[in-house]
Each structure stands twice: as structure tokens, then as C-alpha cells.
Amino acid sequence: MLTTPIRIRAFSLFAIWLIWEVNAQIAWLVPEVFTPTSQIFAGLAEISVSPVFYEHLFFTIFATGFGFLIAVISGTIIGIALGAFRIFGRAMNPYIAAFASSPKIIFLPVVMSFAGWGTETKVTMAVIGAIFPILLSAYAGMLTINPVHIRVARSFNIKWYDLVRKVYLPSLRHPLLVGFRLGFGAALVSVVLTEAKFGESGLGFLAMQYYGLYAIGKMFSVLVILFALAMIANFLLDRFATRVPH
């Protein structure tokens, strides 16, 4: 079924492709970078049969996913704790705000001196990237929990862990989902940046390598794959979100 949003989506994709292709054909704007799309498709076809590519893909997905998972768990816990203990939350707020709005790449040298050049560094960077949007949205959500729900729960003599599981977490379902989405994006950015800068593996490293070799078509095909990865992750989170009641 072709609903209107899908048509708009398809049309805008087509329009971008057209502009890109025309630009490449008339060699107008930075033609050495904006290669004809046929080259990108050729690059995609080529890397999709190379086992090395899948190794790099796996490294990126693993570091992003693992880091994201750690950030989901710890960010949710920290955000809830900050909201549950208001004084503590208010005290830490300026620090969190400062960390959250600083570019995470500045932590890279420190992380590398602890974790070396490998996957540990990437995972750590993913955690650092993803944890702030998650904990901030959990914290913000905690401040908007309906106080009467807490009173109801307390009137039933609720245990603290049941309060967290059965009142806090479900109350936070919407802000947490937003946090997870932003967090996943941040994790992927952190991992790819780390790979591009210092890594020896992963899609970020691969893209930089192709760039170094002036294999622009292949470089773009790696970017297309990263883009697709982000879209798939978002789609999965979306699917999860529709299962959550209003």
C-alpha cells in the first residue's frame, strides 16, 4: 500500500539521487568527491562479496551494540537514581550537563591510555556517547512521574524494587525510548569516529582506508551501509515502541 508518507519518502530519495547524479555528470560541485552514483553501486557490489568487509562490519556492529547495551542498563539506572534522590540529582545536574554537552571525542586519548587500541576502546567510547542521552531522558522522565501513582504504590506497602519495576520503569517508557534512539545514534557516531581516527578495524577505518586510496565509490558505499545500519536500528526500536502501551 502506497500511503502518502511512503510516497514522500520515495520521492525525496529519488530527488536526492537525481541532484547528486546531475551534479556528478556535469562535474559541477567538487566532482572528485561527489562521484557518479553508478560508482557507488559498483563499490557496494564489490565490497558486498568481500569477506574482509563483513569482518569490519561485524566489529562496528559489535562495538556499537555492546556499548549501547551497557549504556542502556547503566544510563537507565543512573537516571532513575538521580530522579529518585532529588537532592543528589540536583547536586549532580551541572556536572552531567557539562559532560553531556561536551564532544565525547575528547575522552578518546584518556580511554585509549587505559583500554589500548582495540575493541575495548570502541566499546568504552560507545558507552560514553550513548549514556548521556539515556540517563538525561530517564532523569527528566523521573521528574514528571505522576506523584499520585507513587502514593498509590506506597499505600500498598510496595517494596523499592517493585516500585522501580512496576511504577518507575513503565512511567518512563516514552522518555526512555527517545533516549535509546538518541543513544544508539551517539554510540554509532562514537565508534565510527574512533575507528576513523585510530582504529585498525571497523567501518570507520574502512571508509578512511578507501578515502586514502581515492576509492571514493567504495568509501561512499561504506557510508551508505552505515546509514542503513542506523535506519535498521531505528526501525527495530520503533517496532519495540509500538508494543509499548500508550
Binding site: H149, R151, H246
Partner: protein, 274 residues
Amino acid sequence: MTQKKANAVLSVEQVSKSFYVEDEPPILALSETDLEVQKGEFVAVIGPSGCGKSTLFNIIGGLIPSDTGQIVVEGKKTNGPDKQIGMVFQEESTFAWRTVEENIAFPLELAGVPKQDRIKQAAHFADLVGLSGFEKRYPAELSCGMRQRVALARTLALEPQILLMDEPFAALDEQTRMLLGEKITEIREALDQTVLLITHNITEAVQLSDRVAIMSFRPGVIKRILDIDLPRPRGPETISSDKFGHYVGEIWADLREEAARGLRESERALADEH
């Protein structure tokens, strides 16, 4: 008096509570308040806005500590929320992410009742408040009055001996309120409960109660207790009777003073601010 005390299922003894707000004189919300409720009794506490009704409700329910005095349930001093007391709140309090049956089963879930049993019990209490057929709905798909009944059923699910209600029908229209009042009376009889209803609605107080406790405004204290000697069930004929009207008039005469004082004081507070 001493004999009365022996039968009291709930007693409020010398309870005081002050609230401290920055840069303001402390507010004495309750001042050495006493109240005794007998087993099976329906008592309404009525008073003007801001006189300390909700404060009393929260203290009896164990949600906030009192400064002095104590709450005694069946001869035992309470410490925090008591299993014998079920609370129904003034605000809309259903959990939006749970269906009607999951809402009602919430306290059973906390008590570790197995899923099959709690669904069965939830269905029973949904039926009791007139919500059978709506078990799988979410609160967002219900009317205001239905949501308040879900909250009531959720509290009833633990079968508390004492039902404590803080203006549970305040947000509802008159007809729904009256019908729910009748429902509460039926349920109380079926479950053999003691009910303490907090309200600012005089008709509601007279329609439902055996006794009406009238609170004064600042300091909040129970100023007078009126016995309502009307036959039950109290249908439309009772409500339109002279005797009913007489009770309403008497309570209003008492409350009027307090309400007027409350209004004057809040006006003065406003004037001070400007």
C-alpha cells in the same frame, strides 16, 4: 467513652500536623484531632477547602507522619501504611500502561498472588464495581467515572477492612457521583467494611453516612459530629425527605462559618501578596 473505645476499629488520637514553607509562618493543618470509627460504620469527614482533610487522610493511611498523636487500628498503633486500610485517592490514579484487570490485580501482584488467581480475583472485583466486560481495556479508553471505579476495585482487591476515601468522586458529575455512592454502600455491605469518606459535598455526606464529622478551618480539628438517623437504603425518597433536608441545613449552618472564614483568610493572604 471507654466502652466505645473497645469497639473502635480505627481511632485517631490527638493527631497534629504542621507544614513549614520557607519564608512563611508554619501552617497548623491539624491540631490535636480525635476521631473514633466503629466497626462497620460509615463516617464522612466534611470541611472547607484547605482545612486539613487530605492531611488527615494521608496520616491515617500512613503516607505522612504526624507531629504528635497516633493512629490506632484494631487496638494496634500503626507505623506506615497498614494492610487493613485501603486508600482511594482524589486524583485520577489508574496506571495508564496497565489494562483494567492488570490495574486491579496490581496489589495482588505485589503480594505474590499467582497470575491465574489474580486475574480471576480482578474479574470478580471488576464485576463488583460494574466493570465486567472492560477487563482488557486501557484506562485511556474509559470514562472518568469508570477510571475512578477501576481505582476503587484496585483498592478493594486486597479486601481491606477499612476503606479510606479522599473525595473519590469530586471530579465526577452529580448523577454519576450519586450512583457511585449507592455502589459504595452496596459494596460496603457485601464486604462488611468500615468506611471513612472525606468529602466537601454535604448531600453526599448525608446520603452515605452513619455519622458526619465536621471539621473547622485552621486549626483543622473536628468541631462536631452529627448522627445521621435515616433508614437504608437511601433512595430518592429518602433524599427528598424533610429529615434529609434538615440534616443538610444543619451541616451547612456549621460549615458556612468555617468556609466563610477560610475564604476571608485566603483573600487576606492574596491581598498581603499584592
